[in-house]
Amino acid sequence: MWDQVGDALRLSMTKMLSQLASLLPGIVALLTALILAGLFAWAVAAILRRSLAGFDFDRRVAQWGFPGLAEWSPSSSPARLVTRAIAGIIIFIGFLIGISAFDGALPSQFVVRLFAYLPDLITAILVLFAGSIIARFLARSVLIGAVNMNLQYARLLSVGVKWLVTVLSVTIALERLGIGGGIIRLAFGILFGGIVLALALAVGLGSKELVSRSLEREASKTSVSNIKDPVGHL
């Protein structure tokens, strides 16, 4: 009987060790992939950091209208944020390559699905990035235009336009990622409609002054057309 117990134990140990041994190449491959990806990420990050510093990226990011990005960045440096993000992506890709080296259906399926999702993810990131740039550009245009038209609610208009474009781009990005579905559409409709209504009310109420000024100007043009404008520019 003891011989049989010993055989059973040997068998299970052999089975476990052989299974462990079958996993070992995968683990070594994963570790190798991670080390190589880490080295590659370090090299890319070093080159990128130097290039961005030469390009004066931190200052330019603020000029492009993203001064808030510095607050989100490590050491208040958007260049460092970008470098670390790129390095992280490279290491993650290395990890995926290592995972797929395991001989199993589950990791492979996971990697395949993740890669199938990547185009949507990239599109969503691009939409968000473009939306952010357009929102800031339009907000600045509206702000400067409204101030030059002497509108007291210039900042409100500018913020409204910025949120309109931002909400639109976030909704498109989420739709692209397949997150939320109907709820996102509904929420977008409510938010978009709310912002437009708020702006319409603000402009409608505030434009009384604009309309009255315009009417005054027209009236003064017709009634006292012989009065000269006091200021000439050229």
């Binding site: 400067i144 404008d229 520019h233």
Partner: protein
Amino acid sequence: MDLDAISQPDLEQIERIGGADLVIGILGSEREHEGSTAIALTRDVLAKLSKPLRAMVVCSNGIHSPAAPRPELVGDDQPPVVLSCSLPAPDPGDTAQRSISNAYRTIFAVGGKLGARACGVITSRSPGLTPQWIYRLVQPVLDLGFDLVAPCYTRQKMEGLLNRSVLAPLHRALYGQKLQNPMGPDFGLSGKLLQKILVQDAARRPGSDRSVLASIASTAAFGDFQVCEAHLGVRAQHHTDWENLSSLLAEVLGAAFLEMEGRAAQWQSIRGAKPLPAFGQPGPLPEDTAIPVDINGIIESFQLGTKNLQDVWGLILPPTTLLELRRLSRLTGDRFRLSDHLWVRIVYDFALGHHLRIISRDHLLRSITPLYLGWIASYALETQTAALPEVDSRIERLSKAYEDNKSYLVSRWRWPDRFNP
């Protein structure tokens, strides 16, 4: 520059006559009788000039003299020959400044084609266009050998403020010449300067935004060109479209800053400014019938800008300037003063921001509007009770401030990152 804008009959006429001594461009004469008047005026002017001349009048009224005979060489006893052709109607999408610039290009192209010895362009609507205007612009070129005759107008103290506050003192500090109106818009040019501008314009890349109007005086400042001024009298004041003031500023300052950028290598070494000879006498100043300026309204516009545009200005102006602007926005009424030093540095920093493309150039140029209004309010308060000589000395002080602060501009232009007060 090319002659594409000229109609076929006019082109044929230009080909036929081959050459002319003088080309006169009269813009803003849309009605036909004004065009005929312009031709008659030119004939009067030619009769006064010392040599017999052939002249081509380019009007913006659609008239031309078709089937004009090929002019023979004119003898001393023969009357001067005056031919005319028309400019095309301006593109409705073009702004006033761009239309003028395009018209200038066409007139210069006609002048270049005809090998004109002199070219005069009148854009202003004077209260009554007289032969004196044309004569004063072309006579120094034809009889005295000058290459550029720039205009001097008789103005009320609140007229020509963009010229007084930016264009003239900036031109003086950068290019070293004391011109009252470096961007005209009325000029007399020699054939030599005309050819230089034509060559320069042809060499620029297609689609370049450089304005011909802005480059006339700066081209004459560099090279072997003789520059003078001519007193033309009172110039009709265009009605100010306050709602679109920022468009005017963007267009005019944009042209001046582009010219400044294109000539950066040349103006950095210039120090001081020389006075230029002036011909004619300043005309009598008519009674000022304008309503008083609403200074408080203008100050409120400045304060609104200071409250809302800090983020935008923060990208262009150094912190010390922003601090001074915030302090200024708290002042009201008679205490409101924008110092020359501060204003000059604002203009220089905006020029630098334009050059470095810190933000969209259109945003940058439009965001200067409240600051310009601040300068107008300060100037109006300072000169409220001043007579014209005092106003002139006030502007002279401002011009000196531009010259004194030029080292600041040069330092920032050369080392925008290292030199940031």
